[in-house]
C-alpha cells in the first residue's frame, strides 16, 4: 500500500513539474514568436526522422529476437499452405509498410516549416490517383485468389478415409469421442445427458455402441481426421495452434474441420529438442470464467503406437453396461434394456 502511495505521489510530482515547465516554456514561445515556432518544427521533424530510423531497427531486431518463440512450422498439410500464403501476404504488405512510412516521416522531416520555403501548390493528380487505385486493387485480387484457393481446399469435403473424432465443448472442458470400429459417431441429445452418459448418447442408435470417449486426442500421422465439433452450453472454439486448426463449437449447430497431421509428437520433440513438448488443444472463444483452462493433450503417433492405444480404449456403451449390471438403478438403464 505504502509503495503504491509513494509511486502515485512521485507521478503526481512529475506531472506538476511538467506542468510548470510547460507553462514557462509557452510564455517564452509567445515572446519569441516565429523563431520559437521554427525551432519547435525542427525538433519535432527531427524526432519523426529518429522515430523512423529507430522504429525500423527496433521492428526488425525484435522480429528476429522473438521469431524462435513463434509457433514451429505447421504440423498439418493445410498449415503448410497457410504458411506459404502468409509469406506471400508479407511480400505484398511489408514493402508498402516500409515505403509509406519512409515517405510519411521523411516528408515530415524535409517539409517542415522553417521559414526557408513556401508550400508547392498541387491539388491532386488523376493519373496518380488511378495508379494508386489500380495497383492495390490488383494486389488485393491476387491475394483473394490465393486465399480462396486455400479456403475451398480446407473447407471442402473431408476425404472418405478420414478418421472421425467428435469434440464437445462444455464449461470448462472438452470431451472427445471416437467413432469406434465403424468410424461413425452416433446420435446424441442433451435430453439424454445424465451421470452415466455425459454426452447424452442415444443408445438406440447402433452407431453409438462402439463409440469410445478418450482423455487425450490421439491422431494417426498422415491420416486425415474429421473433427465434428459441438457444444452443449455456450460457444467454445476448437483450437489446435500447431495444426492451424480453429472452429467454433456452437450449441445446436454442428460444425466440423478436417485436417491431416504430418508430424508425430516424437518427431516434434526431437526437432524442437524439447523432450516435454506436447501438442495442445485449447478453447479460443470466450466461454466464461475458466475459459483459459480448457486444455487437452494431443498426441500424434505412427500407426503401430496408435493401434496400441486404440486397443486399450473401451466403448462407452460397454463401460455403462458393466457398471449398470453392478448397480441396476443407475441412470440410463431403462433405455439400455429396451435394446
Amino acid at each position: 500500500m505504502l509503495t503504491t502511495f509513494l509511486g502515485l505521489s512521485i507521478i503526481a510530482l512529475v506531472l506538476v513539474i511538467v506542468f510548470q515547465i510547460a507553462k514557462a516554456n509557452e510564455l517564452v514561445a509567445s515572446l519569441k514568436g516565429e523563431e520559437m515556432v521554427i525551432n519547435r518544427n525542427r525538433v519535432n521533424a527531427m524526432l519523426f526522422l529518429l522515430f523512423l530510423i529507430f522504429g525500423m531497427i527496433g521492428a526488425v531486431w525484435s522480429t528476429f529476437h522473438y521469431a524462435p518463440k513463434f509457433l514451429p512450422a505447421p504440423s498439418s498439410e493445410h498449415g503448410t499452405w497457410l504458411r506459404n500464403m502468409f509469406f506471400w501476404t508479407l511480400v505484398a504488405t511489408v514493402p508498402v509498410f516500409i515505403v509509406t512510412h519512409i515517405a510519411l516521416f521523411v516528408f515530415s522531416f524535409q517539409y517542415k516549416r522553417d521559414g526557408s520555403r513556401s508550400a508547392f501548390y498541387f491539388p491532386g493528380s488523376n493519373r496518380l490517383e488511378l495508379i494508386w487505385t489500380a495497383i492495390p486493387a490488383v494486389v488485393m485480387i491476387l491475394l483473394v485468389y490465393e486465399g480462396m484457393r486455400n479456403w475451398y481446399k480446407i473447407t471442402g469435403p473431408a476425404p472418405k478415409e478420414a478418421m472421425v473424432v467428435e469434440a464437445t465443448g462444455q464449461q470448462f472442458f472438452w470431451t472427445l469421442r471416437y467413432g469406434g470400429k465403424d468410424n461413425k459417431t452416433g446420435k446424441k441429445s442433451v435430453k439424454l445427458i445424465n451421470g452415466d452418459n455425459a454426452l447424452g448418447l442415444d443408445w438406440e442408435d447402433k452407431d453409438n455402441r462402439d463409440d469410445f470417449i478418450a482423455d487425450e486426442l490421439h491422431l494417426k500421422v498422415n491420416q486425415p481426421v474429421l473433427v465434428r465439433i459441438s457444444a452443449i452450453d455456450v460457444l467454445h472454439s476448437f483450437y489446435l495452434p500447431h495444426f492451424r486448426v480453429k472452429m467454433d463449437a456452437v450449441p445446436g449447430i454442428p460444425t466440423q474441420f478436417w485436417f491431416t497431421p504430418t508430424k508425430t509428437t516424437k518427431q516434434m520433440r526431437e526437432e524442437l529438442k524439447n523432450p516435454n513438448f506436447n501438442y495442445e488443444l485449447a478453447c479460443a472463444e470466450l466461454c466464461g470464467q475458466a475459459h483459459f483452462n480448457m486444455r487437452k493433450v494431443v498426441v500424434v503417433e505412427d500407426e503401430a503406437d496408435f493401434n496400441q492405444w486404440l486397443a486399450k480404449q473401451e466403448p462407452a456403451y460397454a463401460k455403462l453396461k458393466a457398471s449398470s449390471s453392478a448397480t441396476p438403478d443407475s441412470g440410463n438403464t431403462g433405455q439400455t434394456q429396451q435394446n
Binding site: T89, T93, P251, N276, L286, Q289, H291
Partner: protein, 616 residues
C-alpha cells in the same frame, strides 16, 4: 465563463436572425445542462467522453497488471475493487468483466460518442455555415440519452453479481444465460438497457447530422465545397442510422431470450445440471447463436468505420491546413469515403469466418473485405501527397495527424492478413487480432480525437488555446508508447496466444512470453499516466488558457474561423457568410490561403499583405 458568454449574447441580439428566447439571459440549467446550443452539447459529449476514456483505460491497466504479473498481488486492486480482487488478486470473472467494460466503454462511449458526438456537433453547423442543428431539441436529447446510457453502465459496475463479463460482443448463449457466468445475470440486463439508450442517442444525433448537412448549408456551400470533416461526419451518420437499429433488434431479441423464455439464439443447451427448457418443460431448440453474431456485426463492423471516419476527416482537414497545401485529390478523398461507407455494410461476416458460417458465404466477405483496402490505400497515399512539398507547421494537432496516418498504415496492413479467411483460421481470436484492431481502430481513432481537441480547442472553450509544450510531451510519449504496447502483440499472435485469457500458465504453447507481457504492461502504465499530461492541459486551458488574439490562428480557410472568438448561440453575430470556393485553397496563385467566404475579387486584385491585415 458566464460573463464572457453573455457579452456575445448582446452582440447577437443586434441582429434579428434569432429566436426570441435568446434575448434574455439564459438560466444556468438551460445554458449548461439542458442546453440546445450545439457547441455546448459538443462540450458535454467531449467532457463525458474524456471521463469515460480515463475509466476505460484504467480498466485496461488493471487487467494488464494481471497479465504481466499473474503471481503477484496488488493491494490497491483490493482497495479499488473490493471482493473482486480479494487479497489483491483479480478474480477471473472480474478480469473478464474489466475486459468487457474496457471494450464497451472505449468503442461506444469514448470513440463513438466522445469523438463523433463531440466533433459532429461542434463542426457541422460551424463549417457548413448554419446557426445550429436542424433540431436543437433532438440534439439535446441525443446527449441526455447518452448520459443515461452511461449512468446505467456505471450502475452495473456496482451490483453484487458484477457487470457484464462475456466480452463487448455479448455473444449468446454465454450472455443469455445467468447460469453461464455471474456477469450474465443482472449485469448483462443493464448492459443491454444501456446499449438501447445509447442506440437511441446515436440515432437522434445521426438523423440530425444528416438533415443539417443536407438542408442547412450556407449560400454557395455546395456539397463539393464541404470540408472533408463534414463529408466524414455525414457518412458516419449514414452508417450509424442504417446499422445501429440492427444492433437494437439483436439486443432486444437477446433480452427476450433472457427474460421472456424465447429461443432466438438458444438451442440444445445443457447447463447447470439440466437441459434448458421452456416453461412447458420442452427443450429449447431451433435458435441460432450465429444469428446474433450476424446482427451484432452488421452494426459491429460499420461501427469501426463510424469510429474511424470522423478521425480521417479531421486528419485530412488538419494536414491540409497545417501543410499550407490543398488536400491531395479532394474528390478522390470524398469518393473513397463513399466507397468505404458502401463496403462497410458488406464485410461484417469477416468476424465470423470460423464461427460455423457457410464457407461459401465467407468467401464473398473475403472479397469485399480486401477490396475495402483499396479506398483506404487511396486515403493514405493522398495524405502523404498532401504533406509532400508542404510547409508543415508541427502544432500538436499536426503531430497527432501524422501519428494517425502511421498507425492507420500499420494496423490497416495487418487487416489484409485477417480479412483473408484462410489466414484468419490460425490468427482468429489471437493477440494478432488484438494488435490489429487496437492500432487501426482504437489508437488511430484516439489520435483523431486528440487531433480534434488540440485543433478546435479554441472553438470548444471560448477562444482559449491549449499549452503546446504539454501537447508535444503528450504526443511523443503516447505515439512511441502506443507502438511499444501493441507492436509486440503481433509476436504473441504469431505464437497463437489466444486473446481473453486470464493467464497463460496452463498451456506450454502460450506461456512463453512472460518478459514481453511485463514489457507491454509497463508501456501501458506509462502511456496511461502520460494521459494525465493531456488531462491537466485540458482542464487548465479550458479555464485559464491564453485566449486567441486573432480570429483565425491557423490561417484556415473554413468557416468556423469567421465566427467571433466567443461565438454565442447562433454562431455568427451578423448574417451567415456565403461561400465562394472549396475549403482547401492553400497556396493558390501564390496566396497563402483563400478563405471560403471571400470572393475572387476580394483576394487577387490586392496584394497578400493587405488581405491578411483585413482578415485580422
Amino acid at each position: 465563463m458566464a460573463t464572457i458568454e453573455s457579452g456575445t449574447e448582446i452582440k447577437i441580439d443586434v441582429h434579428g436572425h434569432h429566436e426570441h428566447e435568446h434575448h434574455h439571459e439564459e438560466s444556468f440549467i438551460s445554458k449548461y445542462i439542458f442546453s440546445q446550443d450545439h457547441k455546448m452539447i459538443a462540450r458535454q459529449f467531449l467532457i463525458t467522453g474524456v471521463i469515460w476514456a480515463f475509466i476505460g483505460v484504467l480498466f485496461s491497466v488493471m487487467f494488464r497488471l494481471q497479465l504481466a504479473w499473474p503471481d503477484e498481488s496488488f493491494p490497491i486492486l483490493e482497495t479499488l475493487l473490493g471482493k473482486w480482487a480479494a487479497g489483491g488478486k483479480l478474480a477471473p470473472n472480474f478480469y473478464y468483466a474489466l475486459v468487457t467494460m474496457h471494450g464497451t466503454i472505449m468503442v461506444f462511449f469514448v470513440l463513438t460518442a466522445g469523438l463523433s458526438g463531440t466533433f459532429s456537433n461542434l463542426l457541422i453547423p460551424l463549417q457548413i455555415g448554419a446557426r445550429d442543428m436542424a433540431s436543437p431539441f433532438l440534439n439535446m436529447l441525443s446527449y441526455w440519452f447518452f448520459f443515461l446510457a452511461g449512468m446505467i453502465m456505471l450502475v452495473s459496475l456496482f451490483i453484487s453479481t458484477g457487470p457484464a463479463d462475456g466480452g463487448w460482443t455479448a455473444y449468446p448463449p454465454l450472455n443469455a444465460l445467468p447460469q453461464a457466468s455471474s456477469g450474465s445475470a443482472f449485469g448483462m440486463t443493464l448492459w443491454l438497457l444501456s446499449m438501447a439508450m445509447f442506440i437511441v442517442s446515436s440515432l437522434l444525433g445521426g438523423l440530425n447530422y444528416i438533415t443539417t448537412i443536407l438542408n442547412m448549408r450556407t449560400e454557395g456551400m455546395t456539397m463539393m465545397r464541404l470540408p472533408l470533416t463534414i463529408w466524414a461526419f455525414f457518412f458516419t451518420a449514414v452508417l450509424g442510422v442504417l446499422s445501429f437499429p440492427v444492433l437494437l433488434s439483436g439486443a432486444i431479441l437477446l433480452l427476450f431470450d433472457r427474460h421472456l423464455g424465447t429461443s432466438f439464439y438458444l438451442s440444445d443447451i445443457y447447463i447447470g445440471g439440466q437441459p434448458l427448457t421452456n416453461a412447458a418443460g420442452e427443450l429449447l431448440q431451433g435458435g441460432s447463436p450465429i444469428l446474433f453474431q450476424h446482427l451484432f456485426w452488421f452494426l459491429g463492423h460499420p461501427e469501426v468505420y463510424i469510429v474511424i471516419l470522423p478521425a480521417m476527416g479531421m486528419v485530412s482537414h488538419v494536414l491540409a491546413t497545417n501543410s499550407r497545401k490543398p488536400i491531395f485529390g479532394y474528390s478522390a478523398m470524398v469518393m473513397s469515403i463513399l466507397a468505404i461507407t458502401v463496403l462497410a455494410f458488406l464485410v461484417w461476416a469477416h468476424h465470423m469466418f470460423v464461427s460455423g458460417l457457410n464457407p461459401f458465404i465467407g468467401s464473398i466477405f473475403v472479397l469485399f473485405t480486401l477490396l475495402i483496402a483499396v479506398p483506404s490505400a487511396i486515403k493514405v497515399f493522398n495524405w502523404i501527397g498532401t504533406i509532400w512539398r508542404g510547409n508543415i507547421n508541427f502544432t500538436p494537432d499536426t503531430l497527432f495527424a501524422i501519428g494517425f496516418v502511421s498507425l492507420f498504415i500499420s494496423g490497416g496492413l495487418t487487416g489484409i492478413y485477417l480479412g483473408n479467411s484462410a489466414l484468419d483460421i490460425p490468427l482468429h481470436d489471437t493477440y494478432f487480432v488484438v494488435a490489429h484492431f487496437h492500432i487501426v481502430m482504437g489508437l488511430a481513432a484516439g489520435f483523431g480525437l486528440f487531433v480534434g481537441v488540440y485543433h478546435w480547442f479554441p472553438k470548444l472553450f471560448n477562444g482559449r488555446q491549449m499549452n503546446n509544450t504539454m501537447g508535444y510531451i503528450h504526443f511523443w510519449i503516447t505515439f512511441v508508447g502506443s507502438y511499444l504496447i501493441f507492436w509486440p502483440m503481433h509476436y504473441l499472435g504469431m505464437t497463437g496466444v489466444p486473446r481473453r485469457y486470464f493467464q497463460f500458465s496452463n498451456f506450454e504453447t502460450f506461456n512463453v512470453y512472460g518478459d514481453l507481457n511485463v514489457f507491454i504492461s509497463i508501456a501501458a502504465i506509462v502511456v496511461f499516466f502520460a494521459q494525465f499530461v493531456f488531462l491537466i492541459n485540458f482542464i487548465y486551458s479550458a479555464l485559464y488558457g491564453t485566449k486567441m488574439k486573432t480570429l483565425n490562428p491557423y490561417l484556415s480557410n473554413s468557416l468556423e474561423w469567421t465566427t467571433p472568438i466567443e461565438p454565442g448561440h447562433g454562431n455568427w453575430p451578423g448574417a451567415i457568410p456565403p461561400v465562394y470556393r472549396g475549403p482547401y485553397e492553400y497556396g493558390k496563385n501564390g496566396t497563402d490561403f483563400v478563405p471560403q467566404h471571400l470572393p475572387d475579387n476580394a483576394i487577387w486584385p490586392k496584394d497578400e499583405k493587405e488581405t491578411k491585415t483585413e482578415l485580422a
